[in-house]
Symmetry: C2
Subunit: 343 residues, 2 copies
């Protein structure tokens, strides 16, 4: 009998209350999923994980656009993986794929009723597939162009602008000829905004008053506000929204770890006087744009029009700590983790 | 020399701080505006005033879609009036007109740069011109159909549903085949909603828990929420907004008298998970719809499809008290005031 292969997992041990903690997760050694695959299924070996603030939301016992994560199941999360056994001709053995394979070494994917894994082309690196060509960038693409109806003359505001979604949103706005103001925390990230991502101005919310800066930078108001943050940042953006302005709600990292939701913006009535709209969206509704967006992003990256940063941590055992970097502001680019030794 | 005609006025004595008070206004006897009109101008005699919560907003020193009211000038407000002198062939002497003629007996209108007075057809009563065929109803029409994109199968929620805008919004929704839930304060207004305006259900926010009632009445969520109230009512509506739901922000009577804006809805992130939109609008942007809306409303009223209530107070001296009825919930229908003796 061959030696039993262990499938290392990180389980959701309990639902986080407020701030997510390392102790909300539990390491578990499961047996390798049985290789007798049903037609359509594949067995994948995860090589790299991508982390996203939305995962925190899925941990709450709230029915959103996805069911809440189950307790004592591997934490739901994106991974780039290699197909190691296949009962699906679309995903041959050896192919690279990405999907919500969870925090574990191995996963069975392709089950009926689950989202299909996405093939990763041979010339794409795992960190590109999970990063600049991944869901965050496509979210930025759809959010700016389809939901936000970006126009060339727009004055655009992006919060969380140094993050995975925000940095691509900034660059798309610039590529379309808009004037772009980015909000990020700390002088280092603000420097990236100007020097790497081509923002026209950066606001450091750690050290500057967002409203005062917006008054100076956008006296005629913001045409399109792409908000990844929520909370007081959203309120400041509403205070400076221009006439017929559009606010795209992409996320609310400021609030993901709040035990009780913080008060919302006090100035929503400005949406009336400015005839502005605010709209939430999620990528799942725009999957018809996936191919176009991916190809366009690939072209931009290849041509050097879109730059990106990845923050790659290492080692399966540090997955929870790596996830927490998203919320402490420690991440220095798209947060990834490589499982050392896997290939 | 003929006896001097007095032009009675109510001036804005000071900007209200929080709750508007009778003492925020001051009576003043001005001389009659000189009858030497410039070409285009008309002199009108006000007969009836219409009151609207938006007037409270115009009293604050905030640049909105209109400049703030001036201190020591007649309070800006709608009136139905008779033309008593004319230098404008579009408004012959004796014609009835409505416009923002202010809280005074006489006004000069038709000045360049001001909104044109609207002619009132001979078969329309002043209380109809200021009420069911006035700005409030046209606001409901545009808000439901153009901004809210009302559909026949929609589950519609209207707050402030017994008010001038809300009651027409409820009836338009019903005329278009939607299912309508109205929110109003007290059993009397809730009875109007069901018996007079044809709502499918009424929620009494004085005596019922809005969220619990919405859970029971609209388990699949609200498709279109027409909000006139803001505050906790808006928050409750967001909590029950359906997938791809639309929230139309028409007003926020709950907050007009707040000295400091109350915290906004804590659950805006539900706009993301539900892919919902929230949109503010004001009638001024939809003046191209005025003729169509007025004619349609007139037809509906004539055919008995739209019912309405007016609350007509009397006497120039009671104008401020009548205005305050809007905010105390005392108004029993569109709040109007007739200047006794004028005709």
């Amino acid at each position: 009998m061959p030696p039993q292969i262990i499938n290392r997992q990180w389980l959701l041990a309990r639902r986080p209350e407020g701030q997510v903690l390392v102790d909300d997760f539990r390491r578990y050694d499961a047996p390798l999923p049985r290789p007798d695959l049903t037609a359509g299924e594949i067995l994948v070996r995860n090589l790299m994980f991508g982390f996203d603030p939305a995962q925190r939301g899925w941990m709450d016992d709230v029915q959103g656009y996805m069911p809440p994560m189950a307790i004592d199941a591997p934490v739901r999360g994106s991974a780039a993986a290699r197909v190691v056994a296949s009962a699906n001709p679309a995903y041959p053995e050896g192919a690279m794929v990405r999907g919500l394979f969870g925090w574990q070494d191995y996963a069975v994917a392709g089950r009926a009723g689950e989202a299909d894994p996405v093939r990763i082309a041979p010339d794409i690196l795992p960190e590109e597939a999970l990063g600049v060509l991944g869901a965050a960038s496509i979210t930025a693409y759809v959010g700016m162009l389809d939901v936000g109806r970006l126009g060339a003359g727009d004055c655009v505001l992006v919060s969380g602008a140094a993050g995975a979604v925000g940095s691509v949103a900034v660059q798309i706005a610039r590529l379309y000829g808009a004037r772009v103001i980015g909000i990020a925390g700390g002088p280092e990230k603000c420097r990236w905004l100007i020097e790497d991502y081509g923002a026209d101005a950066a606001i450091d919310y750690h050290n500057e008053d967002i409203r005062a800066r917006l008054r100076a930078l956008a006296p005629a108001g913001i045409d399109l506000f792409f908000d990844n943050v929520g909370g007081s940042t959203l309120e400041a953006g509403i205070a400076h929204i221009g006439r017929f302005g559009r606010i795209v709600l992409c996320g609310a990292i400021a609030g993901y770890n709040d035990e009780r939701p913080a008060p919302g913006p006090r100035n929503l009535m400005r949406l009336i006087s400015q005839r502005a709209e605010m709209r939430g969206f999620i990528l799942l509704d725009h999957l018809d744009r996936l191919a176009t967006a991916t190809e366009q992003l690939r072209q931009w990256v290849r041509d050097g029009h879109i730059r990106y940063r990845t923050d790659i941590q290492h080692g399966f055992e540090t997955i929870p700590q790596t996830f927490l970097r998203l919320f402490s502001g420690a991440s220095r680019g798209k947060q990834l983790l490589r499982i050392d030794g896997a290939e």
